[in-house]
Each structure stands twice: as structure tokens, then as C-alpha cells.
């Protein structure tokens, strides 16, 4: 059992948990993920590591309540326990001195960008962070990202905060004004990562993406997480989650990501019916 030491509702439906897991924290590196299970009948879901503290033995995860499992997870509070928590899984980000690096984070993807940007900066890179959200209320960790990057630029889809537009708009500007970018890293919703890759491909900028495929075991045992990269089948949980974005077959990945859509909807509906409002909104505002 793994204790939740801290809970922070970053923005409505996006929560931060700091979880006591010394074995995971001892080895965690930027770019890796964990798999957790909330309760005895629960499924195993992967979450990217948003931060870790070796000394305190904690892992920070940031997750958005989208399906049954993440909603259920969101009902847990400080002092509660998560049943299963395994990691660190996946191959860590490749950190070295590249030169000028752009780190793009969209939506809840801002969280996993954070430790990678920090490590890249610590390795001597000049790190430009570009983060975006649908609107002001959904943007979080501006301060953390500002500290982790050399420079931070922000955007909201609706213009309710900072620039109006998409992260790709800011990325394009950065490319045009600065010319040389040695590496781009993008984490966020699939369409965003895909759009970033299309843009950087035009300019020949190597781009790393972190793929959040469906997973079961997370150790290379089932193949549920397979993706096509450069024409080859790879397992995201062990060969990734980071891949060369220009080689990823995004069309395949997005179709595979909705395999269980009907079941997921059913599970969520049933859960919401049974828990009419015991969620974190404490009284029905979630509807």
C-alpha cells in the first residue's frame, strides 16, 4: 500500500498526488512512468512521473479525471492509500548537452515535461518552455516550469490568459525568430504531439514525444502498448515511452487508443451513477 502524502487540486479535474514510494523514488528518472491500481477490482493504469524526491522517497503524479479509474483516484485524499504502485517503468529520457532545446507541454502533459526540462537545463542546455491549455483555468505549474526552463512562453486556446493560440503557433514563432533549435520535446494530447511533429519535420528539428498508449503490465509482457515507429513494432512500455516523433505512426496510435472506448464510457457512466457525487467537487459542481 502506498500512502498519499499530499493532494493538490491544481485545476478542476486535474489533481496532484505526492505518493510515498521509496523503492520507485530511489531510481526514478525524468521520462519514466508508474503503473497503479486503486482497488482490488481495479485496472492497471500508467501515469508519467511528474516529479520525484529521492531523499523523501516520494513520487509526484499529476492526472486528469477522464475515466472511471482516474475519477476514483481523484476521490482519494491525503492519508489514503493506493493499492498497487509499480515503477519506475520505461526508459528514462536521454539527457545530454544538445544546445538549444524547446520543451512543449500541452494540457496535463505540462507535468511530465517539468522534470525533463529541469534535467535538460541542469545538463547545460538552453531550455525554452512552451506550455498551453484550453483556457486560463486549466493552466497549472507556470511557476514550476518557469524555474525549470531558461525561458517560458504560454498560450491558451481561447486567449483567456497570455497569448491566444496553440502551442504550435508559439513553436513556429520560436523556430522562425531563433533559427537554430537542436531538439524539441513534446508531451501532451495526441493531436498536439502530432501537430508539433508535422511542424518540426518541415524544419528538420529532431523531436521526441512521450506516448501514453494503453497498457496492462508495463514490463513488456503483453504487447498491448505496441506502436509502429519507423516501420517497426515497438513496445511503448519498455522501448519507450519516448520515441522519435517523426517516426511514429500517429494514425495507428490514435486508433489503438480508443479500442475500449465503449467499455470506458460504460464504466464511467456506471461509476457516476453509483457515486452520484462523492467526487472531489464535494457537491455536484462537477456536472
Amino acid at each position: 500500500m502506498y500512502r498519499i502524502l499530499k493532494k493538490d487540486v491544481l485545476v478542476p479535474s486535474i489533481n496532484l498526488f505526492e505518493i510515498e514510494a521509496p523503492k520507485v523514488a530511489g531510481k526514478a528518472e525524468p521520462g519514466q512512468f508508474v503503473i497503479l491500481r486503486v482497488q482490488e477490482k481495479g485496472e492497471r493504469i500508467p501515469l508519467t512521473i511528474a516529479d520525484f524526491d529521492r531523499a523523501r522517497g516520494t513520487i509526484t503524479c499529476v492526472f486528469q479525471e477522464v475515466g472511471k479509474t482516474t475519477m476514483e483516484l481523484g476521490t482519494l485524499n491525503e492519508g489514503d492509500y493506493i493499492l498497487d504502485f509499480v515503477g519506475p517503468l520505461g526508459t528514462p529520457s536521454h539527457i545530454e548537452l544538445f544546445g538549444r532545446v524547446v520543451c512543449v507541454g500541452g494540457g496535463v502533459g505540462v507535468a511530465p515535461v517539468h522534470p525533463i526540462a529541469r534535467a535538460l537545463k541542469e545538463a547545460g542546455n538552453e531550455v525554452l518552455g512552451i506550455i498551453g491549455a484550453r483556457n486560463k483555468d486549466l493552466l497549472f505549474w507556470e511557476d514550476k516550469l518557469r524555474a525549470a526552463c531558461t525561458e517560458l512562453r504560454l498560450t491558451t486556446d481561447d486567449g483567456s490568459y497570455m497569448r491566444k493560440g496553440f502551442v504550435t503557433d508559439l513553436l513556429k514563432e520560436a523556430i522562425l525568430e531563433d533559427g537554430k533549435i537542436d531538439l524539441c520535446l513534446a508531451i501532451g494530447p495526441l493531436p498536439m504531439m502530432r501537430a508539433v511533429c508535422e511542424l518540426t519535420r518541415e524544419y528538420g528539428i529532431k523531436t521526441i514525444v512521450s506516448l501514453n498508449t494503453l497498457m496492462v503490465d508495463g514490463t513488456g509482457m503483453c504487447g498491448c502498448c505496441r506502436v509502429t515507429v519507423g516501420g517497426e513494432t515497438r513496445f511503448a512500455c519498455v522501448d519507450g515511452p519516448e520515441f522519435d516523433g517523426h517516426q511514429v505512426d500517429f494514425a495507428e496510435m490514435s486508433r489503438r487508443s480508443v479500442i475500449y472506448k465503449p467499455q470506458e464510457l460504460l464504466a464511467r457512466e456506471k461509476y457516476q451513477q453509483n457515486n452520484a457525487c462523492r467526487c472531489t467537487c464535494k457537491g455536484g459542481s462537477c456536472k
Binding site: K27, G42, R44, T219, M221, C222, T233
Partner: protein
């Protein structure tokens, strides 16, 4: 006894099974086992051969005629004890061993009649002991030595139990959230009830073995770190062969194509058959094709029917006689309505605009000259392509060793295929203090061989730790 010997029943005493029409609708155990009268009658068929040919067929050298004699006398506790001298998991092996290729293959009675049902007698004795709880276990005084066991399949479980009884402090590290390896995540409930495996695991805990689940060795710690930083004096690696092989044909990543591991793990470990009461979903279409001819393939095909598929096909490259699956599983599958396409192999998987499987193109084969395995090699028949109408494909063509431990352990010799090299007689690897056994060494094999390797390694580890 003497009168019985005069008229030998040419056939095994039948074992009651769940009716096929009913059982395809549930996940309960299919084979129900003998009762006392049947087991005594079956034991009575044994000739008590002096040369014990059956024993030579047993991979772990169980004194078969001796335990059958005890069972025939109604001394089931004694029989179970006799079996356990060599086999730590008789309740499991009695259910899943391919007896027709092992002990029963060499049984004298089998020359003229059906062999003695050694497996069924073994199963009865094990179950009897489990129910009546006579298995007292002696644990030697603590030696002060610490051993890490990596993986909790039959190899790891056996090694851990033996070492604990010898007084060593054993910690098992298991990657998944439930220990048991293939016995829990792979072999279905209807063939091996999980309660039986759980009883073995509870037993280990009683022996003082600590089980740390959610612990992927190679990630949270390497083998070297376990030995140097965590103070383990020796390590046993029993990480199995969990890496699924795919066909490498077009369309294999389409939605609706599963590895058998994924299909079975979702069902067995995650209980997807109880969705939405359990959270993990699985999708089985109307027509399922399972590629392969081993136990894994049979399990997947029979699982598909239980999940509601209308048609479940085994598509196998060779012919029926070459199928490596246990005979009993093949006949159970047939009774349940699994259908077979022999001498057939897929060439590509077809899918619709949404990337869902719609059909599979197959090629017909014929048997040619024997290959290195002694089985006749299947050769494709030119122009024999045909379309099999399916919407789910399960690939069950084999598994390789999980590369994580080999990749993260310096100085551990492995084969080209990634199997760990370990001496058969001792389980010793190229790395001092590190032993290995089971599927990770042999490649995907059997429960009894993994169990035997765990036991062999436990003996060597004991000698290593006590300086013998």
C-alpha cells in the same frame, strides 16, 4: 488386491468433468477430479513394476509406484508426502503436466491398454492433503543468510520454499501485483483454479518467505544492487518467458489483434470476464482465430468461447499430431466447440477504415521432410491463399525471455535468443552467487521443469551459502 490384478480394467477410471454445453458459459474448473473410490480403483490398476518405467518419464523423478501404492491403500497423506519429496506443487502439476508425454507415456499398462492415470491420482492426493491439512512443515533454524528470488512462477515459488525450509531468509520480488507467474496470469481458472495457486503462496508466507509484489528487478534495483546494497547473499532468477512473439505480418497491430499474453492476462489476472464489476475491459468479437497449437493457444481459444465468441478457431501451421498442447486440453477444446484449421498459416490481417480486424488471409501448407525437431516441416502450397472471416485474432505462437534482467545484469551470460545460461545440474550462472532456472533458461517449457529447476537451484544455493 490380488483378485483385482487378474482382471485389469483396460481403461482409465473416468474422471467427472463439467458438461461441455454448460462449461463454455462459465470459468469454473472443467475437470472435477476423482473421488476416493475412483482413486483407489485407479491405483489398483497399477502393476507395481519393479523397473518402474513411469518414473523414468517423470522430469523430477517422483517415486510413482510408491505413491500409487499408498493411494491404493487409502493412505492419501502418505501418498502426498511421497510425491512432495520430489514435487513441491503436486496440485498444480496433477492438473497441468503433459502426462501423456511423461510418466504415462512409459507406463507398462499403456502398451496394451490405457496407462494408469498417474496425473489424476497425483491430483487427488494433493487436493486431499490441501483439504485435510496434514502437511506439517519443518523449518531449519535460521542460517542468517539472505536470498533474493526474482519472479514468482513455479520456479521461483519452489526455490523460495525449499530455501526457507533450510533456514534461509528469502524475499521474492515479483513484477506484477499478484504472485504466481503464468499459474496466475496465463493458465485460466477453468483449468487451474487460482485458489490452488494461492494456497501454495499462503504456504510460502507461513514458511516465512517475504513476497514483495510490484517490484520489477532491473528497474527499482539491479541484481548487483540487490547483492551489494541490499545484502542478499545469493539470487535466484526465475523470470520466465513472458515476451510475446508476433508473426510479423501486415495488419498485426490492428485493433482486435491480441498477443495470447494480453488476452489471457486481461482475463485471468485482471478478471476482465467480470467487467464491468472489475474495471479491466476485454473485447472478443464474434469470430476469433487463435494462431498456434500449444497449451497457450488452447487456453486462448477456450477463453474466447467463454467470453462469448460464436466461433473460435485454432489456426495451426502443422497437423493435429504435431500440436504440442496437452492431449486433454485438445479434447476438451474439441468438446467445447473450438474448431481447427491445420496446415494453415496467416499471411496478413485485413482491417476496415477504423483499423478493426475484418478477416485474415491464410495460406495452406503440406507436410514435407522432418526438420531438426523431428517433426515434418510444413511447406506452403503455392496459390492456396484463402480468406478466413474473423474479427479477433490472438497470436499464441510462443514467448521469449523478458530481456530486462539480462540487459541490466553485468556479467550474466545469455544465449543469442536472450535466455540466461545456467548449468542444468546446479542452476549456476556465469555470475557468482547468481542462479537461474525455469523458462528464462530453457525457453517456454513446462511447469514441472520450472519447478524442478527451482528445486535444483535451491540445493545449489544452499551448498553455496553453507560453503559445501
Amino acid at each position: 488386491m490380488t483378485e483385482k490384478k487378474k482382471a485389469i480394467n483396460p481403461q482409465k477410471n473416468p474422471m467427472s468433468v463439467q458438461d461441455p454445453a454448460l462449461r463454455v458459459k462459465n470459468f469454473n474448473e472443467v475437470a472435477l477430479g476423482y473421488n476416493e473410490a475412483a482413486v483407489i480403483a485407479e491405483a489398483g490398476r497399477c502393476l507395481q513394476c519393479k523397473n518402474m518405467p513411469c518414473r523414468q518419464g517423470c522430469p523430477v523423478d517422483i517415486d510413482i509406484s510408491a505413491f500409487i501404492k499408498l493411494a491404493g491403500e487409502g493412505d492419501f497423506a502418505g501418498a502426498a508426502k511421497k510425491i512432495k519429496e520430489k514435487n513441491a506443487l503436486p496440485g498444480v502439476c496433477g492438473r497441468v503436466c503433459p502426462q501423456e508425454n511423461q510418466c504415462e507415456k512409459y507406463c507398462t499398462l499403456g502398451k496394451k491398454h490405457e496407462p494408469v492415470a498417474i496425473g489424476r491420482i497425483e491430483r487427488f492426493c494433493a487436493d486431499w492433503e490441501m483439504a485435510n491439512g496434514t502437511g506439517s512443515q519443518e523449518v531449519a533454524p535460521p542460517t542468517g543468510k539472505k536470498v533474493a528470488v526474482v519472479g514468482s512462477g513455479p520456479a521461483g515459488l519452489t526455490c523460495a520454499a525449499d530455501l526457507a525450509k533450510l533456514g534461509h531468509r528469502v524475499t521474492i520480488f515479483e513484477a506484477l501485483h499478484i504472485p504466481g507467474g503464468v499459474l496466475m496470469y496465463g493458465i485460466p481458472e477453468f483449468r487451474l483454479p487460482k485458489a490452488i495457486v494461492q494456497a501454495e503462496i499462503d504456504n510460502l508466507k507461513k514458511l516465512g518467505v517475504e513476497i514483495q509484489v510490484n517490484s520489477v528487478v532491473g528497474r527499482f534495483a539491479t541484481i548487483d544492487e540487490l547483492m551489494q546494497e541490499e545484502g542478499f547473499d545469493a539470487v535466484f532468477i526465475g523470470t520466465g518467458a513472458g515476451l510475446p512473439h508476433f508473426m510479423r505480418i501486415p495488419g498485426e497491430n490492428a485493433c482486435g489483434v491480441y498477443s495470447a499474453n494480453e488476452f489471457l492476462t486481461r482475463t485471468n489476472l485482471m478478471k476482465a470476464y467480470l467487467f464491468p464489476d472489475f474495471d479491466t475491459p476485454i473485447r472478443v468479437g464474434r469470430k476469433v482465430a487463435v494462431l498456434g497449437g500449444g497449451n497457450v493457444a488452447m487456453d486462448a481459444a477456450r477463453t474466447a468461447l467463454r467470453l462469448g465468441a460464436e466461433e473460435s478457431w485454432i489456426v495451426y501451421r502443422r497437423s493435429k499430431v504435431e500440436m504440442p498442447a496437452r492431449q486433454e486440453e485438445v479434447s476438451h477444446a474439441e468438446e467445447e466447440g473450438v474448431r481447427f484449421k491445420f496446415l494453415t498459416s496467416p499471411t496478413r490481417i485485413l482491417y476496415n477504415d477504423d483499423y478493426w480486424v475484418t478477416a485474415m488471409e491464410c495460406l495452406q501448407y503440406e507436410l514435407g521432410e522432418p526438420d531438426e525437431s523431428g517433426r515434418r516441416r510444413p511447406v506452403p502450397i503455392k496459390g492456396s491463399e484463402f480468406i478466413l472471416d474473423v474479427d479477433t485474432v490472438v497470436v499464441a505462437i510462443g514467448q521469449g525471455p523478458n530481456p530486462l534482467v539480462p540487459r541490466t545484469t553485468k556479467g550474466l551470460a545469455c544465449t543469442k535468443r536472450g535466455n540466461i545460461v545456467a548449468e542444468t545440474e546446479t542452476g549456476a550462472t556465469s555470475k557468482p552467487g547468481v542462479f537461474a532456472g525455469g523458462d528464462v533458461v530453457t525457453g517456454a517449457a513446462t511447469v514441472i521443469l520450472a519447478m524442478g529447476a527451482g528445486r535444483t537451484a535451491a540445493n545449489s544455493i544452499h551448498n553455496y551459502l553453507t560453503g559445501k
